[in-house]
């Protein structure tokens, strides 16, 4: 008798399983979770906090907020950030002041841990939401984040 009930139970559980997949099959049109990625670029919006790459926002006067304090460089576990700095005369106060020459960011070494942005006292660097970072030449991954001719915004102190 257990022979027959085995067969009955077996077929019953198999049909239950088929009903689950069958339900999804019938709702296939609206149920698909696929994102057709390169086609949906226009509507694809990343979350605000998404960590794509480190960027340094510049305002309309080509000014950024980086004072060259190098806290990000210290916080980075991988040596991703390299700040080449210099001392120059501050136009307002006339004192000698540290300022950045180049803010070099090696995207190829970055693990997106967020410690540099966490460490930045002046919010000079932020997370960019661009994630399409593939390039043909890896030297293109070494970027200088401060734009040419940019300078630190007045009133930013470290």
């Amino acid at each position: 008798m257990s022979y027959l009930s085995n067969i009955y139970n077996g077929i019953k559980t198999l049909l239950t399983g088929m009903s689950v997949t069958g339900k999804y099959f019938l709702n296939a049109r609206k149920g698909a979770i696929t994102q057709q990625y390169p086609d949906n670029r226009a509507t694809l919006k990343m979350f605000d906090r998404f960590r794509g790459e480190v960027i340094m926002p510049h305002d309309e006067n080509n000014e950024h907020a980086c004072t060259g304090c190098q806290k990000c460089e210290l916080a980075c576990p991988n040596g991703t950030i390299e700040i080449i700095w210099d001392r120059g005369i501050d136009e307002v106060t006339g004192k000698k002041k540290k300022k950045i020459d180049k803010f070099v960011y090696h995207l190829s070494m970055c693990t997106m841990c967020g410690l540099c942005i966490d460490a930045c006292p002046t919010d000079a660097i932020k997370w960019g939401q661009n994630f399409e970072n593939s390039v043909y030449d890896r030297t293109a991954l070494t970027r200088v984040l401060n734009k040419p001719g940019s300078k630190v915004r007045a009133g930013i102190e470290d």
Binding site: I7, L14, M18, V20, F25, G31
Partner: protein, 354 residues
């Protein structure tokens, strides 16, 4: 015997008009073979596409939809790619057997297609031992799989091939016996005569309870025969990588792949012919239009193919010993009892006929 059903014969009659009879029959055979080869190579590719789309719909995906309209050219492109690929192989493989194996598999599956009655008069070869021929030819395919696994010089492939041997030998029995159950009703092995019998109701209706049991057994054994999940022990991608065709690439791999899908179609075609009245329309609604028979035949076959795909994308794989105990402890005894039941039904004339 109604030989006129046969398309080879029709061709031959036409050709006899302008060449000697011997040459005409050979030319007719070659032409029909080439037509069949082309139709079913393309049909096999579209079965692959169907499988991929159906799998995608089961799995909340979209499936291939880029190449051509809704991805209709996807598998064509894949086939082109496979043709252009390098044929690699292993060191110290048995080169002769290694190269022979794919042809065993693909040729036997294409041969079986020749005898299906797609509609009235559209049948390449109406052999009078039709069912027997189908069972015989479908078990030759496994030789190709065994050769492939053995000659590849790869242990994973060998395990896959040995599993395949065990599996096919066992399930061959169930296929044969379940079809034999239905032959009790028709009294003939010839496929065209089996169709004739079904003009009084499809066999699954005529034979009611034992016929339904035979159909279920046939579908289980048929799925096992084609080495598809849940019986895909031969490939078992999570256990053996790719099983017996691990070491094949390019077009040789494509032959195995195509053969799997054509075999699936063959299993569905046999079921259509034997259980569901081949090209006969339900309740004879289009009896006056025999060419619609192709539509009915393909519709029934594709529904059965879909059923096999549904199995594949739902069930986990069995283990090799469970596979054998399912066959020898469950399917075979039930099958034997079922045959007796059917014989009793036929003897007592308890079948349903319209």
């Amino acid at each position: 015997m109604n030989i006129a059903l046969n398309i080879t014969q029709t061709f031959q009659d036409w050709l006899v008009g302008f060449m000697p009879e011997g040459a005409a029959s050979i030319t007719a055979m070659v032409i029909v073979a080439v037509i069949y080869l082309m139709i079913f190579a393309v049909a096999g590719l579209y079965l692959v596409l169907l499988e991929r789309r159906v799998a995608a719909w089961f799995q909340l995906r979209l499936g291939p939809n880029r190449v051509g309209f809704q991805g209709l050219l996807q598998t064509m492109a894949d086939a082109l790619k496979l043709v252009s690929k390098e044929l690699t192989g292993t060191d110290r493989a048995d080169k002769f057997l290694y190269n022979l194996a794919p042809y065993f598999v693909i040729i036997t599956s294409l041969m079986a297609l020749g005898i299906f009655p797609f509609t009235q008069g559209f049948q390449a070869f109406d052999i009078n031992i039709g069912i027997f021929f189908l069972i015989a030819i479908s078990s030759i395919g496994v030789i190709g799989i065994l050769l492939a696994g053995w000659s590849s010089n790869n242990k994973f492939a060998l395990i896959g091939a040995m599993r395949s041997g065990v599996q096919t030998i066992s399930y061959e029995l169930s296929i044969g016996l379940s079809l034999l159950t239905m032959v009790l009703l028709t009294g003939s092995l010839q496929l065209s005569e089996i169709v004739e019998t079904q003009k009084h109701g499809w066999l699954i209706v005529q034979g009611h309870v034992p016929a339904i049991i035979a159909f279920m057994i046939y579908m289980i054994a048929g799925t096992a025969e084609t080495n598809r999940a849940p019986f895909d022990m031969v490939e078992a991608e999570s256990e053996l990588g790719a099983g017996f065709h691990t070491e094949y690439s390019g077009m040789k791999f494509a032959y195995f792949f195509l053969a799997e899908f054509i075999n699936m179609f063959i299993i569905a075609c046999i079921a259509t012919t034997v259980f569901f009245g081949a090209w006969l329309s339900p309740f004879g609604i289009t009896e006056s239009l025999p060419w619609l028979g192709v539509f009915w035949f393909l519709l029934k076959a594709l529904i059965l193919v879909f059923l096999m795909m549904w199995f594949r994308w739902t069930f986990p794989r069995l283990r090799i010993d469970q596979l054998l105990s399912l066959e020898w402890k469950y399917l075979l005894p039930i099958n034997l009892i079922n045959i007796m039941l059917m014989a009793f039904l036929v003897w007592q004339k308890l079948t349903i006929q319209f």
